[in-house]
């Protein structure tokens, strides 16, 4: 079973066609969501991504100081910090939500972010709220020390 990663990206920071060229794309199902600016990311959209069985959510924003709308990436960063604490409180795990700075001139930055996210998922496993996993199943899947596929 593949990991599901929702990718909310600012169109000024990332080209979604890159997702098809990632080396581990056969292990991951990406769900890209494009935004005119990362400030459009709202807490409820990210939570609903987890409700829709995302194992992780990546938010790609422009580098600091490079947001064409000045502070959109700063607002996104604040919201994501807040939401990570809420995800910890719910028990999903704030590590599953990550903000990465990317730009069209720094494709490696986004690639490194996705690799890091995959490493995290290898350690943490599928989301405990994923539909096919009920209570207790999250621990079952880790019985052998790694997620079951």
């Amino acid at each position: 079973m593949k990991y599901h990663i929702s990718v909310f990206y600012c169109v000024n920071s990332f080209d979604a066609s890159m997702l098809d060229r990632l080396p581990f794309k056969d292990r991951v199902v990406f769900k890209p969501v494009k935004m005119a600016c990362s400030s459009m990311v709202k807490d409820v959209y990210l939570l609903r991504a987890f409700e829709a069985d995302a194992d992780a959510v990546v938010v790609l924003v422009c580098p600091e100081g490079h947001c064409r709308y000045v502070e959109g990436n700063l607002r996104a960063a604040k919201r994501i910090d807040w939401l990570r604490r809420l995800l910890d409180e719910i028990g999903i795990g704030g590590v599953r939500l990550v903000l990465c700075h990317a730009s069209s001139g720094r494709a490696n930055a986004a690639g490194a972010c996705f690799e890091s996210m995959l490493t995290m998922l290898e350690a943490e496993g599928f989301s405990p709220a994923r539909s096919r996993w009920g209570a207790g199943a999250a621990s079952d899947q880790r019985r052998n020390g790694k997620p079951q596929r």
């Binding site: 709202k42 409700e51 209570a135 207790g136």
Partner: protein, 222 residues
């Protein structure tokens, strides 16, 4: 505005545990402004509860609805249909709203999702501060519109305690000394002589300390 803060998810989970279908009911006025219970916050709370239940493998049906104000019956009525379809209502309004909703839907448990805290203002982005204690005897005209009842830790009415440092309260250095602000303001207005008049102790009978209060306007009652 009335300022409130959402309860932790763990506490809300305990509160709603006996109920299967829960309506998260938001309010579009005070609690929207302080990011505790507006439409966005209601959507986040409902989603967070669904995720939390899903994680624990529990069956649950969490729905969401927001009305303009929960302190007025004509707005609460708009939630009649979603309320009828649920076993309980989790209100994200202030305490007054929770109780008003319970009066409108007496057959439904109405549960609080917010801790109502104070009457305050938005001092700057993301910062809400308490400004009014609802004492029922407003003396802001004397004090240059800085309230010593709400903003002085000692509720002094006849001058500062003398313990402030750099304009900060000695009881809580995180807050400004109200009397420092009063004197600055009255000086700017040329009304420092206001402080020559003795202000007698507050008669707390007009505050909540005297029991729940009521305001009747016969000119609006038909």
């Amino acid at each position: 505005m009335i300022v409130g803060e959402q309860k932790p998810i763990s506490e809300i989970r305990e509160i709603i545990a006996p109920y299967r279908r829960v309506l998260v009911l938001g309010c579009g006025t005070c609690v929207k402004t302080c990011f505790a219970g507006g439409e966005d916050e209601t959507a986040v709370m409902a989603s967070a509860l669904r995720l939390s239940l899903k994680k624990d493998g529990l069956a649950g049906d969490i729905r969401e609805w927001t009305v303009e104000r929960q302190c007025e019956d004509e707005f609460i009525q708009e939630a009649a249909r979603p309320a009828a379809e649920c076993d309980a209502i989790l209100s994200l309004a202030c305490g007054a709203g929770v109780q008003m909703v319970a009066r409108r839907f007496p057959d439904k448990p109405v549960l609080p999702g917010v801790n109502t805290t104070f009457i305050g203002v938005l001092e700057e982005r993301g910062l809400f501060t308490e400004e009014c204690a609802g004492c029922g005897q407003c003396k802001l005209a004397l004090f240059g519109a800085v309230c010593p009842i709400a903003r002085c830790a000692k509720k002094l009415l006849n001058g500062p305690c003398g313990g402030s440092r750099d304009g900060r309260c000695e009881v809580n250095p995180d807050t400004a000394c109200a009397w420092h602000l009063i004197i600055e303001r009255l000086t700017a207005l040329g009304q420092l002589d206001n402080l020559r008049a003795y202000v007698p102790p507050t008669d707390w009978r007009t505050s909540l300390s005297g029991g729940p209060r009521k305001l009747i306007r016969e000119d609006h009652r038909i």
